[in-house]
Symmetry: C2
Subunit: 201 residues, 2 copies
């Protein structure tokens, strides 16, 4: 409905409203009928977009589901301020909220199963695992000099955060402890800030 | 084959070899045919144990799968020595090895999907999420006085470890980084040891 539609990867005008309808249909199906039932055919019926048009945009239902449930963490794409605790808190809230939504909860176990069975090379290119890492690293980059322990690998801290969010979202005994998100901020800060450890033998 | 077999929950003599055959059949099916195909019927056929005998022992295939892939972390049931880094290292190696086996890799995404759909109350009683926590807490208890920061919640550290192991096992971009397990030991120690944090604004 726009007068100047964005162009698709084949250089033809691309109707962005089709993308929105397809992704919304995928989210609805995930919540109502689950991961396995969220097929391209079901998405086509629900969105009233022809399957051939869907396949022109996405190679399979997996990429649709990934894009539908992890839509780029928009709330944290704002620039980091350099205030590390504040930036981390904002990032972690947005990240955890994305993972805890009903469509993501329905999708993630199924995606994890697919990643195990299709081999890692393909899966590593997926949206899921890479989406928020650069934003996290940007936040650390923006911290004042000496604000982050140079002995710490920032990717290790991101992997830890990813695992913590996954566990709080998907594992009942962790979810039931219902710990405030602020604990996750504390854990990340403890891993990132320069410290003097007191090891007693 | 023992002269004094253990008694089942209905007070009758229980043939432990049936349990072993059922659990081994479940592990084989998980690796060969995947989570969905690991049904009670398939387990009965593979193990040559009648389905009715299986249902006398387990309420559903889910409990069989949990017991089959998380058999109690036997290697770490040895008593903690009080040497926190050494005990943690031994625990983390055993825990990560349990989760990374082919049967567990095939089972965990499916179990996570079931936990989302069956409600948390049941799922929280499952083997999966609770099995190793008491052993982890025992290790911290055995540390010398002052060896663990009293401000730290040990359950938070266990949840973090659980999430990290889950992420390294199941998420391709984390698995591909192929970080040594020693980094997980470092992360746990950094969260547990008394520290002085150097916050620079």
């Amino acid at each position: 409905m726009t007068s100047d539609p964005p162009r698709g990867r084949r250089g033809r005008p691309r109707d962005a409203s089709l993308d929105v309808r397809v992704l919304e249909a995928a989210r609805q199906l995930l919540v109502e009928r689950g991961f396995e039932a969220t097929t391209v055919q079901a998405i086509a019926e629900r969105s009233a977009v022809h399957a051939s048009a869907i396949y022109r945009r996405w190679p399979s239902r997996i990429e649709i589901i990934e894009q539908a449930v992890f839509p780029g963490l928009a709330p944290v794409t704002v620039r980091p301020t350099g205030d590390l605790p504040r930036d981390l808190r904002r990032f972690i809230r947005a990240y955890a909220a994305t993972m805890a939504g009903p469509a993501a909860r329905a999708a993630v176990p199924g995606l994890l199963a697919v990643y195990q069975s299709t081999g890692r090379a393909n899966a590593a290119q997926t949206w899921f695992a890479v989406s928020a890492r650069p934003q996290f690293l940007d936040i650390l980059q923006a911290a004042p000099p000496g604000g982050v322990d140079p002995a710490v690998d920032p990717d290790d801290v991101f992997d830890t955060l990813l695992g913590c969010v996954l566990a709080r979202t998907l594992i009942p005994t962790v979810a039931q402890r219902n710990r405030p998100l602020e604990r996750l901020v504390d854990i990340c800060l403890r891993l990132l800030l320069p410290v003097t450890m007191d090891v007693r033998a």
